[in-house]
C-alpha cells in the first residue's frame, strides 16, 4: 500500500522520535511512505482567529499536493488530521470560499478537488492493516504489560465530523495495543484533553491538567501511557519535570508513541524507534522487554 506521507510540523521540528518509529515500522508492514514534496503547515486551527481563509488555504494546499500524487494521505498528528477534515468539510459546503482558495492555489498550478482520502494512524492500523496483519508482524509480544491508551481529543472529537474513533468510548488504540500482546486498562479520564492547546493562554493550567492524568495512570499501577499524537506526547513526555514542579507531586511515568511499542514488538532496535529521545523514564520498560 502506497500513501502520501504527511508528518506535520511538530513531528518534523521536535518529535523526530515519532517520525523515526514510523519510518522504521510501517514499510515492514507493507506501507510505502512517499513524502509529500513541498508540504507546509496544516494551517493550525487556532490560526483561524487571525485569518480563517489562510487556515483553509494551508490545509487545502497540502491536500491538493496529495491529490496531485493520486494517493491517500497519511497524517501522523491528530491536530493536522482534524485541520484537514474540517477544511475538507467546510470547502465542500462553501463554494464561494472554495473559489477564492482555488484562485490562490492556481498560482502554484495546484487544484483542490476535495476527494483525497485522509488516513489517521488509527485508520491505518485498525482498519487498513487490521488485527491479523499486526499480530503476524509481532515477533516479541509485550506480554505482561498493562498500558493506558490516550487517544487524544482531536482523534475523537468533535463527533459531528467523522473522527477515527468514538467520542465517548474510544477503543481502537486499546485494541491496537492489545494486538501487540499487552493489556490495557479503561481508566477514568482516558478521553480527557492533554491540555496542550491551552499553552499559549495558561501554561500553568496545561501542567495541572496533564498532571491529573499522569498521577491517575501512575496510581493505577500501569506500565506506561501510549499515544499517537505529537502534541499530547509533548506534554506528557517532554514536560514531566515542569508538571512536577507545578503540581508538587511526582509524575515520572513512561510515555510512548504507539509506533515505538509496535517497533519493540517487531524487534526493531530501540535506537531506530527514537526511544533515546523520550524524556520520560522508559528505561525500565525497555529493560523488561529486553533484547536491546
Amino acid at each position: 500500500m502506497k500513501v502520501a506521507f504527511y508528518p506535520g510540523c511538530t513531528v518534523q521540528a521536535d518529535q523526530i522520535g515519532y517520525e523515526a518509529s514510523v519510518r522504521n515500522t510501517m514499510p515492514k508492514l507493507g506501507v510505502e511512505l512517499i513524502d509529500v514534496e513541498g508540504a507546509s503547515c496544516c494551517g493550525y486551527p487556532p490560526f483561524s482567529s487571525v485569518n480563517e481563509a489562510a487556515w483553509y488555504y494551508s490545509s487545502a494546499r497540502n491536500m491538493a499536493l496529495a491529490e496531485r500524487m493520486g494517493l491517500p494521505i497519511l497524517i501522523l498528528c491528530n491536530g493536522c488530521h482534524l485541520s484537514f477534515t474540517e477544511t475538507k468539510h467546510f470547502l465542500a459546503n462553501n463554494p464561494i470560499i472554495k473559489a477564492k482558495i482555488d484562485e490562490k492555489l492556481s498560482i502554484e498550478g495546484l487544484t483542490y478537488v476535495g476527494d483525497v482520502e485522509l488516513i489517521h494512524v488509527f485508520d491505518l492500523f485498525h482498519n487498513k492493516l487490521g488485527e491479523e496483519k499486526i499480530k503476524q508482524a509481532v515477533t516479541k509480544p509485550l506480554t505482561g504489560f498493562k498500558f493506558g491508551a490516550h487517544p487524544g481529543c482531536h482523534a475523537i472529537r468533535p463527533n459531528k465530523l467523522i473522527r477515527p474513533d468514538d467520542s465517548e468510548n474510544p477503543i481502537k488504540l486499546d485494541e491496537l495495543i492489545q494486538w501487540l500482546g499487552a493489556e490495557t486498562m479503561d481508566y477514568p479520564g482516558k478521553i480527557d484533553c492533554c491540555g496542550s492547546s491551552l499553552a499559549p493562554a495558561s501554561g500553568k493550567t496545561v501542567m495541572e491538567i496533564a498532571g491529573d492524568k499522569l498521577r491517575m495512570v501512575k496510581a493505577l499501577g500501569l506500565d506506561g501511557l501510549v499515544t499517537t499524537c505529537p502534541f499530547c506526547f509533548k506534554v506528557y513526555d517532554n514536560r514531566q519535570r515542569a508538571i512536577q514542579s507545578t503540581v508538587g507531586a511526582s509524575v515520572e511515568f513512561p510515555v510512548f508513541y504507539y509506533t515505538q511499542l509496535l517497533g519493540l514488538a517487531m524487534e526493531v532496535k530501540p535506537d531506530f524507534l527514537g526511544l533515546d529521545l523520550n524524556q520520560s523514564p522508559v528505561d525500565s520498560v525497555l529493560a523488561r522487554i529486553g533484547g536491546s
Binding site: D166, S167, E168, N169, M185, D186, Y187, P188, G189, L220
Partner: protein, 435 residues
Amino acid sequence: MKPVLVVGGGIAGIQASLDLADRGIRVHLVEKSPSIGGVMAQLDKTFPTMDCSICILAPKMIECFRHPNITIHTQSELVSLEGTVGDFSVKVLQHPRSVDAQKCTGCGLCSERCPVKRPSVFQACLGQRKAIYLAFPQAVPLIATIDRDACLWFTQGICRTCETVCSANAVEYEQKENTIELNVSSIILATGFEQYNPKDIGEYGYGHYRNVLTALEFERLVCASGPTGGVLTRPSDGKVAHNIAFIQCVGSRTQTTGYPYCSASCCMYATKEAVLIKEHEPSSHVTIHYMDLRIFGKGFQEFVDRAQSNWGVRYVRGRPGEITEDPASKDLTIHYEDTEVGKVEKNTVELVILCTAAVPNSDNNKLGGILGVKLDEYGFFSTKDPISSPVETSRQGIYVCGSCHGPRDIPESVAEASATAAKAAEDEARLEVKG
C-alpha cells in the same frame, strides 16, 4: 350495540375498557404481550402517595378479566382496518401461546422444569425467565406462554418437558396463528411508550459501566418481587448500594442526542425512588441531579418538600457532563456544575440511575399506517386539537389516551382513558339514535 376496540392493555387501556364495560358496552381489549398490565405492573410504588403499584393495578386487571362485557385478546395485534366510525371492520392477528388457555391453571410447574433461560422483559432484563413462562406473578390472564424462539422443541425438536409435567395437559405445540374479524363502533388507542436507550449518550457510560442503570431497571431492583427481592445490590459486585445518584432528563429536553420534549414524570418518579432508597436504609445518601424540578401536579410540590426535609434527599441543579468509573471499585464519579453556586464539582457514588426519556412506541409507525391516523414529529399519535379535542386523532372514531400521544404520568393517563371511554360511548349513543 356494537363493541368498542381498545388497543393496549396498560393502565390507560384497562381504565377505558372498564369505564365502557360498566356502561354496558362490550369491549375487545387487544394486547400484544402475554399479559395486560403494561409498564405500571413493573413499578414498585406510585407517586405522590407511595402506594404499591401492583396493589392498585391488579384488582383492575382482574376486574377486566372477569367483566362479562370485556374480551381480552393477548399476544395479539391489529393488522387491518376498514370502514368508518360506527362501522369499523378490524382484523386482529393472534399469535399462538402454545398453551390451551382453558386448561392452563397457571401453576408454574412447567416454568420450574423448563431448562431454557432468557432475560425477563418484565424484570427489565435484570432477571431471567424460562422459555415457557408466566409474564409475572399477577399476570392476567394467568396462563403460561411459550417463547418459540427460545423453546428447545421449536428450535431443535427436542425436550417437550413442559408437556410431560403439565398435569392439566394444557401444552399445545401445534397451535397456529389465528386471525379474527371484529366489527366495532370506535377504537381507543392506549399503546403506551418505550424507554429511551441511553447507550447513545456515551458520556454517561450506560451499557459500558455496569453500575449505571435506567430508572425502570432500578424500579425492578427496588421492588420486593424483583430479581433481588428488593435488596439494592448493584450489578458489578452484588454490594448493597448506600450512595446513589439520579440523573434527570437523559435523552429528554436536549437539542443534541435524544428528544427536545420533557418526559413529564421523571422528576416525580426520581423523587419517589429516592424516598424508597431512604425507606430501605435511612442512612443512605441520595442525590438527584436535575435541570428544573417540574412538579406541578396535585400534591407533587409537597412530596418533593417532604423528600428534602424529612428524608434528606439532596437536589443538585445542573446537567452532569460526564461519569467516570474507578477501575478497581467500580464506583462512579459524576462530574457536574452546581449551577446554584457556579462551581464545578464531583460526586462519587456506588450506583447511578438515569431517568431516561419516554419515547414513542416503535410500533406506532406501523399502527398509524394501518389505522390511517397521523403521528407527530417524534412518532407519538397526534391529536386533532390539543385544546378542544385532546383525545381525538385525525380519524373520526379513533381516540387516544395515555402515553402513546406524549409522555404522561398515571393520573393523567387514567383521566384521559375515562375521557376516551366517554367519547366512544357518545359514538354508540349516536348510533342508537340513528337506529
